[in-house]
């Protein structure tokens, strides 16, 4: 299992029956692959559909139905088209149960930075600021380090996406829960020690007793 699959499978475990879930483009979008169709979960594509489905059969792609990255998708039975005002109304209004986003940095306050590297890369925040401010549960899905440098840091040096504390950070090394007291190390990846996690993290991690290994359900 590669790092991305590990992260996606672990995040998928957080998704409960009947939830409305927004998946960011890139790594987070892989999470849908590990959520059984019969769980009644609706995925929202912020560009305009509730009930995002897998890529359509070959030759049946239609430019009027894409995900937020512009890739061809399908819609599940019971899907609804929404315009951008409704889409973000659902996000800001507390109707979105969970969002899964990528991250550049997460810090000890649980703050996320994921939209700008000053002077280098300014993609823009897209929907991220609304998603982090408004979703009932915010999960950051990212590699634990970038080119060896820790992404979980004492305090974000990059511009913040929001001042809301994210709820969970899932990486290829660990599951970390930001809390008012700091970052709690909840789980470690299979074959990874607590020491390994701490070495790849420049933030202080709170460790209370034995830290269990991620239990990944078999894929269906």
């Amino acid at each position: 299992m590669n790092a991305k699959e590990l992260i996606a499978r672990r995040v998928a475990q957080e998704i409960k029956t009947g939830m409305l879930v927004n998946l960011g483009i890139g790594l987070p979008s892989l999470v849908a692959n590990y959520v059984a169709v019969d769980r009644g979960v609706f995925f929202q594509a912020e560009n305009g559909v509730i009930g995002l489905g897998a890529r359509p059969p070959e030759g049946m792609e239609d430019p009027h139905l894409t995900d937020a990255g512009g890739g061809f998708v399908s819609a599940v039975p019971g899907a609804a088209s929404i315009d951008s005002a409704m889409s973000f109304g659902l996000i800001r209004g507390g109707h979105l149960d969970m969002t899964v986003l990528g991250g550049l940095q997460v810090d000890e306050s649980g703050h996320l930075a994921n939209w700008k590297v000053p002077g280098k890369m300014v993609p823009g925040m897209g929907g991220a600021m609304d998603l982090v401010s408004g979703a009932l549960m915010v999960v950051v899905a990212m590699q634990h380090t970038a080119k060896g440098a820790p992404k979980i840091v004492p305090e974000c040096t990059l511009p913040l996406t929001a001042v809301r504390r994210v709820d969970l950070v899932v990486t290829d090394l660990a599951v970390i829960e930001p809390s008012p007291e700091g970052l709690i190390l909840r789980e470690r990846a299979p074959g990874v020690s607590v020491d390994d996690v701490c070495k790849a993290t420049s933030a202080t991690l709170l460790i209370d007793g034995d830290v269990p290994e991620m239990q990944l359900e078999p894929t269906s």
């Binding site: 594509a45 912020e46 560009n47 305009g48 559909v49 239609d62 430019p63 009027h64 139905l65 894409t66 995900d67 937020a68 990255g69 512009g70 819609a75 088209s81 929404i82 315009d83 951008s84 005002a85 889409s87 973000f88 109304g89 996000i91 800001r92 700008k116 890369m121 300014v122 993609p123 823009g124 925040m125 897209g126 929907g127 991220a128 600021m129 609304d130 401010s133 408004g134 511009p159 913040l160 996406t161 929001a162 001042v163």
Partner: protein, 217 residues
Amino acid sequence: MKGAISPAAAAELIDDGSSLLIGGFMGVGTPERLIDALVASGKSNLTVIANDTAMPGRGIGKLITAGLVSRVIASHIGLNPETQSGMISGEIDVELVPQGTLVERIRAAGMGLGGVLTATGIGTEVEEGKQTIEIDGQLFLVETPIKADFALISAWQADYVGNLSYLLTAHNFNPIMALAGKTVIAEPGSIVPVGVITPDAVKTPGVLVDHLLVRAS
């Protein structure tokens, strides 16, 4: 509505220096033929207000490549390196706005509100230079309306009186922008007789639409 016009005739309506609301999301639901006509007419110094600037060769990306755009208000420019380099070199003035805030600011202009209050952006760079207000102990940004000289809209169907319907994720910003342009030009996939779009299927009432583009030949 006095009959549909050609893309070239539509482009003629738009002066250099105009502000344009342009529908679409990464090029999906964008009025491509209108954009091609703008590129062909060589308009300059345009302000583009849109979710994003798509990518080079597609939708708004063509306006960027052609150098017609001096100002962009968008939520995301990450897939268009030309917009990013234009921003860094200073050739394009780019204002980044959170997507949910962007659509509400456009809606506020179109629906005659003085603005909306949102918590999105509080404590971030987005807050800079903006008024804040406290409501029941919570802090909100005062986000002001964004209107434009023109709204360039992509629709699925139009009828003879300009009623519009949209398809799936090609709705995006289009129905909201149709409210906020001083002049609204819509590029429909097809133009059908009155009654084909039922009253309940109309997403943009024809009274909002000033011009329809003729069907693509």
